[in-house]
């Protein structure tokens, strides 16, 4: 059902915010806004790089830790690694970012961060995850891309 919503948004001229249709027009009313539940649906099944469980099962992601401002074009995802020195924190963040980039419209500005106090090198990981040049370069690195694709495999649509 969610995917139907997505497809509808991608049809040019139908419910597109970019078409200049102002608030209150029928096109605007018709489109169901993307919310935190929907973003959660996309990232909950990402596999943990080290465990045979999903990020949802491990409590790494939850819909309460996602903020979406559809009209403002902003998505903020916070995640909580299972241990504070988790060496996979950057990879997990990269997977979340890659998934959002692949399934949600590019108009969204996405911020992916560790939840406050959840990691020993929180600031460094956050900086890396929100530097688009670093993220895009990482996704062109065949080894890293392979790891990311493995984590995303079960949920890939």
């Amino acid at each position: 059902e969610r995917e139907n919503v997505r497809r509808r948004e991608e049809v040019p001229g139908l419910g597109s915010l970019a078409s200049g249709a102002g608030p209150g027009t029928s096109a605007e009313d018709e489109r169901e806004l993307i919310d935190s539940i929907e973003v959660f649906e996309h990232i909950r099944d990402i596999a943990d790089p080290e465990h045979p469980y999903s990020l949802e099962q491990l409590g790494v992601v939850s819909h309460e830790q996602i903020d979406v401002d559809d009209r403002g074009g902003k998505i903020e995802v916070r995640f909580t690694p299972t241990v504070a020195h988790c060496s996979m924190a950057t990879l997990i963040g990269l997977c979340i970012r890659a998934k959002i980039m692949r399934v949600l419209p590019p108009r969204f500005k996405v911020k992916v961060e560790l939840s406050k106090g959840s990691h020993s090198t929180e600031e460094a990981v956050n900086k890396q995850l929100n530097d688009k040049e670093r993220v895009l370069a990482a996704l062109e690195n065949p080894n890293l891309l392979d790891l990311v694709n493995k984590c995303l495999a079960p949920t890939e649509c």
Binding site: A18, P106, R107, K109, K127, D131, K132, E133, R134, L136, A137, E140
Partner: protein
């Protein structure tokens, strides 16, 4: 201090767009002008460089005349023409630098040489004003200085180590062999040259009232007397270039914050003095360096601050990765976006 807003967002910016250059199949990371002002080179995530030239028919319209591809194997992050436009260098996440040459009388560029040495992604390049030197920098925290030899080969003169993280940008100060660099380690560094060796003479960090986030871009005014550096938290620092007998140094003039605090990916200074920024909130801002209001401590008001002249919201449908003024015609600005297009703007119409 914040830039004072003198105008709101514009609803009629479309009429200020001279041309929309479409053809790239991924985000466009960089745009640069030939020094002659007649050609634009662009590059990006599709691993291609495109050259666009003004067509004779119509006014200020551009046509893609050449595509250089199938050479770099990853994103081409930046490209730049040498001083006399005979060569074009490109740097890539594939860790190589390519130098392309257009033989005299020929229309197409040919690959002259591929420079290897960097360990990982290369992020910026800069030709020296005399066309002799090419600097490259990147993820491996180093800056390489290449000398172009008579036989069109390039020799590495020096590898500059000092930054503790990726080097995002390099800039030769016009009229000197001194180099500036900006980094993910939040510093701007000044490198002075003696006998083909570059020594870091200044590390400008937070303790020096410098940047407190990644330094994305650097630019110089036409005279080479002032420098701007921009960062990931919306700060633009204005520096004065102090020239000694053998060395240059930077002196902080003012710290300026763009109102939205969006990441500033690019900054450029036009020959006529106007400043443009490309930002992560899809906007372009035009700014001007002006004398600060005279304060009791500074009655001469020698201090300059940046004032907002015009904000162009929604300049692209995505991050604005690069802005560059035409070096021959300061009334024309080119911008590159995540929306896969390059736009050419009529600056005069924008600020009217």
């Amino acid at each position: 201090m914040a830039c004072a807003s003198t105008s709101g967002s514009s609803s009629s910016t479309e009429s200020c767009v001279l041309a929309v250059l479409e053809g790239h199949r991924d985000r466009v990371w960089h745009v640069c002008w030939a020094n002659a002002g007649d050609t634009i080179a662009t590059c990006g995530g599709d691993r291609a460089i495109k050259l666009w030239r003004k067509t004779t028919q119509g006014d200020r319209k551009y046509q893609c005349v050449e595509t250089l591809e199938k050479t770099h194997t990853k994103t081409i992050r930046r490209c730049g023409f040498s001083r006399c436009d005979s060569m074009l260098a490109s740097v890539s996440f594939d860790a190589t630098t390519c130098v392309w040459e257009r033989p005299r009388g020929e229309q197409q560029h040919e690959l002259l040489v591929t420079l290897e040495g960097h360990e990982s992604e290369i992020k910026d390049l800069c030709w020296s004003q005399d066309g002799e030197l090419l600097a490259t920098c990147g993820r491996d925290k180093s800056i390489w200085i290449w000398l172009k030899e008579i036989d069109d080969q390039f020799e590495c003169l020096d590898v500059l180590q000092g930054h503790t993280q990726d080097v995002k940008s390099v800039l030769f100060v016009p009229g000197t062999r001194a180099l500036l660099s900006g980094s993910y380690d939040n510093t701007v560094r000044v490198w002075n040259e003696h006998d083909d060796e570059w020594v870091c003479t200044q590390t400008l960090d937070g303790a020096y009232q410098g940047h407190e986030s990644t330094v994305w871009g650097l630019c110089c005014d036409a005279e080479g007397s002032r420098v701007l550096s921009c960062d990931a938290e919306g700060m633009i620092l204005l520096w004065r270039v102090v020239r000694g007998d053998t060395e240059i140094a930077l002196e902080l003039v003012s710290r300026n914050m763009v109102p939205t605090k969006a990441a500033l990916y690019s900054v450029d200074w036009s020959p006529s003095g106007l400043i443009a920024t490309g930002m992560a909130d899809n906007s372009i801002s035009l700014l001007q360096a002006e004398k600060a209001e005279g304060s009791p401590e500074d009655p001469g008001a020698s201090r300059q601050v940046l004032k907002l002249v015009k904000e162009i919201r929604g300049a692209h449908d995505g991050d604005v990765n690069c802005v560059r003024f035409n070096p021959k015609d300061p009334g024309v600005l080119a911008s590159a976006g995540d929306d896969e297009v390059v736009k050419v703007w009529d600056v005069g119409a924008l600020i009217q």
